[in-house]
Amino acid sequence: MNLPNVFLFIGLPYIAMVIFLVGTIQRYRGKGFKVSSLSSQFLEGRALFWGVVPFHIGILMVFFGHLTAFLVPRGVLLWNGDPLRLLILQVTAFSFGLTILVGLVGLLARRFTNARVKMVTTKMDLLIELMLLAQVVLGLWTAYAYRWGSSWFAADLSPYLWSLFKLEPNIVAVSDLPLPIKLHIVNAFLIFAVFPFTRLVHVLVAPLHYLTRPYQQVIWNWDRRAVRDPESPWAPTRPKNN
């Protein structure tokens, strides 16, 4: 257990988590206007389609794959008990990784070549896209070179991540991992750290509540009945809209 490992796998994740939590809450509450997906489809739609759709589908699948292995490592190991099922899982995950790569490269190319899209590209957009690109390349490399990822993730990395959450960090398993995997893990923490300062915040406001709300929304600026009732006092707070 040397010092760089302690910093990268104990210090960095905690720092990243604090920045992530404080940053997103601050951005949502203090700069709510800036919480947006910042779509540029209005300026350019065709190239976007070929980038954005594979990217999102791929990254959602891969993200939930990682999440599953983190939450139910035992289940993943059980599934992987049969070599055929292991192969299916690995190939599927790898294909989604490739999908992300294809989409992301397309999106980056679009950012650099389209004059209009360039105008709405910020430094943080480029930074996060390059970080994601690095993450995907490292992930694919890991998956290809160090088999079988889904099994050793469940067996070694899940306990490590859980140990972080339990505030009893145990980095024995991670310390000896090959370099690409270490980079993949460190880059993941870095992505969490810059998350609140990028357009990625739109992930946290994914509109799933749309499914449960009625289509039409009417908002009374003030309680329409109370405000006319001399018996009731004025509403003590401003209404929630605006």
Binding site: G32, V35, L43, V52, R199, P207
Partner: protein, 516 residues
């Protein structure tokens, strides 16, 4: 019965001179910001024409509004819970900025600062998006006054239901006619934008029915742009938020008229309160195509009815608002006189801006001394002496397509979901009022003919006089009947518009900086 109040506007299209003052007033106040340059919350279109954005009425392209299924229920055409969330990464029906126009300015400074040379310095047009020199291909009123008709007017989506002969008749040089169509957000009773917003950022204000986008909640999922069949929700490409007409609610709360209405040179706009029954919105929106105009008119309630007043009071509608509803010019035009029609009722959003269809371009022009034409007209037409210009008869007002300069079918496609009868009724009323006033002031129309015209259209001398007054003489306070501000309901009354100019919108203190 669930009675609510709605601010409604009437556009008297015969009076619109197409000066675009409303558009400019609106732009100067609300959309002279980066990312909003291309937006015209208020725009004036020449009809026939493709409009702004190009062919916005063609929902097979833009997928806006609601459509009715076989069972008689309505669904959003291009958005909604399933389709909206499925297409959230890439919305196939989203118009691009090229469907509107690429905003531009000119390098004026070059005129002053260009170094001495052999050539006259020029101010080159540059894109307001990229800043690069560009060739201007389109602007917000590229087809103004039928300019470029082969490309624009002839591609008007409303011509779809017409035969090639009818279309050609419209574009013969001697017959060519057009009118202007000013458009702002319709502040619908069944707004498709509200229904389509995945974040729930768009809402209808209960107090006055203004449809607003909460800029802090908008996440640029862009569904409202697709869903609004009038294309009156715009995407700000710079801030990554959608914006739309706010009916100048900060002005209205302070007792001023909306800027477009206040600046209207032709005084074509009337604004007033309407009471409607919210319980019947769904039924009205899903009515059969041929009943749409009637259904949408029926849910607007009589503000003098005791039961309506009681229900409105119970809902917290202030007495001053009910009083304004009783004096409302909008209610008179829509319900009492039945002269106004909604724009494209077939989009089923129940728009609350109504239009008095234009009579002038429809009136048949008849060549002087054409004996064949003369025989076709009834005697009333000849009241203008023998060298008349217009067919003024009420019975055979439109004659055949050959006679009418502007086919009724076209107007019906715009204002009554294809019901030519509804348009004809309105136009005949406009005509009858003219005949009545002609009888009264110029004395060259026989009284019997005047009475026949009024009877045919169901008007009385009193109502004709009232229509004439509100059309021709109305003072500002007759046209703008909005209750005085209710401070307890106002959101922005204590703010000065100048303080937040250049900001994202009222009630919003943050500078509209783009997200990181």
């Amino acid at each position: 019965m669930d009675i609510r109040a709605q601010i409604s506007m009437i556009f008297h299209l015969d009076k619109c001179i197409g000066c675009h003052t409303c558009s400019v007033a609106c732009k100067n106040i609300w959309t002279d910001r980066k990312g909003a340059e291309y937006m015209w919350w208020n725009n004036v279109e020449t009809k026939p024409g493709t409009g702004y954005p190009q062919k916005w009425e063609n929902q097979s392209i833009y997928k806006g509004g609601w459509e009715r299924d076989e069972v008689g229920r309505i669904h959003l055409r291009g958005a909604g819970k399933k389709r909206g969330l499925m297409n959230i990464f890439h919305n196939p029906a989203l118009p691009s900025i090229d469907d509107y126009y690429e905003p531009f300015t000119y390098r004026y400074l070059n005129l002053i600062e260009a170094p001495a040379g052999d050539d006259q310095p020029t101010a080159r047009p540059v894109s307001l998006i990229t800043g690069e020199p560009m060739d201007i291909k389109m602007g917000p009123n590229w087809d103004d006054d039928l300019g470029g008709s082969p490309d624009y007017a002839r591609n008007d989506p409303n011509l779809e239901g017409m035969t090639p002969a009818e279309r050609d008749a419209m574009f013969q040089l001697e017959r060519m006619a057009f009118f202007y169509l000013p458009r702002i957000c319709n502040h619908c009773l069944n707004p498709a934008c509200v229904a389509s917003c995945p974040s729930g950022a768009i809402y209808k204000r209960g107090e006055d029915g203004v449809v607003l986008i909460n800029q802090n909640v908008c996440r640029a999922w862009r569904m409202c742009v697709t869903a609004c069949p009038y294309k009156k929700s715009y995407y700000n490409w710079h801030t990554g938020k959608s914006e739309k007409c706010i009916l100048c609610y900060p002005r209205m709360e302070a007792g001023y008229a909306p800027a477009c209405m206040h600046s209207c040179v032709g005084r074509i706009r009337y604004i007033g309160v309407i009471l409607y029954d919210a319980d019947r919105i769904e039924a009205a929106a899903s009515a059969d195509q041929k009943d749409l105009v009637r259904a949408q008119t029926d849910i607007l309630m009589d503000p003098f009815d005791e039961e309506v007043i009681a229900s409105a009071r119970k809902n917290g509608v202030p007495d001053s608002t009910i009083k304004a509803a009783q004096q409302s010019p909008a209610y008179k035009f829509i319900k009492v006189w039945k002269m106004a029609l909604p724009l494209h009722p077939e989009f089923r959003t129940l728009p609350m801006l109504w239009y008095v269809p234009p009579l002038l371009p429809v009136m048949a022009s008849v060549k002087e001394g054409d004996a064949r034409q003369k025989d076709k007209l009834n005697p009333m037409a000849k009241t203008w002496a023998d060298d008349w210009l217009y067919d003024t008869s009420t019975e055979e007002l439109w004659g055949t397509v050959e006679q009418a300069r502007f086919p009724l079918k076209y107007l019906a496609s715009l204002f009554s979901a294809g019901d030519t009868g509804a348009v004809a009724d309105r136009l005949k009323k406009l005509m009858a009022v003219r005949i009545y006033r002609r009888w009264k002031t110029a004395h060259d129309v026989p009284e019997a003919k005047m009475r026949q015209a009024l009877n045919d259209t169901g008007l009385t001398e009193d109502s004709a006089e009232a229509i004439y007054y509100l059309t021709a003489l109305a003072k500002f306070n007759d046209r703008f009947v909005i209750p005085p501000a209710h401070r307890e309901q106002a959101m922005e009354m204590l703010e000065f518009t100048g303080d937040v100019k250049g900001s994202t919108g009222f009630g919003f203190r943050e500078h509209p900086e783009r997200g990181l």
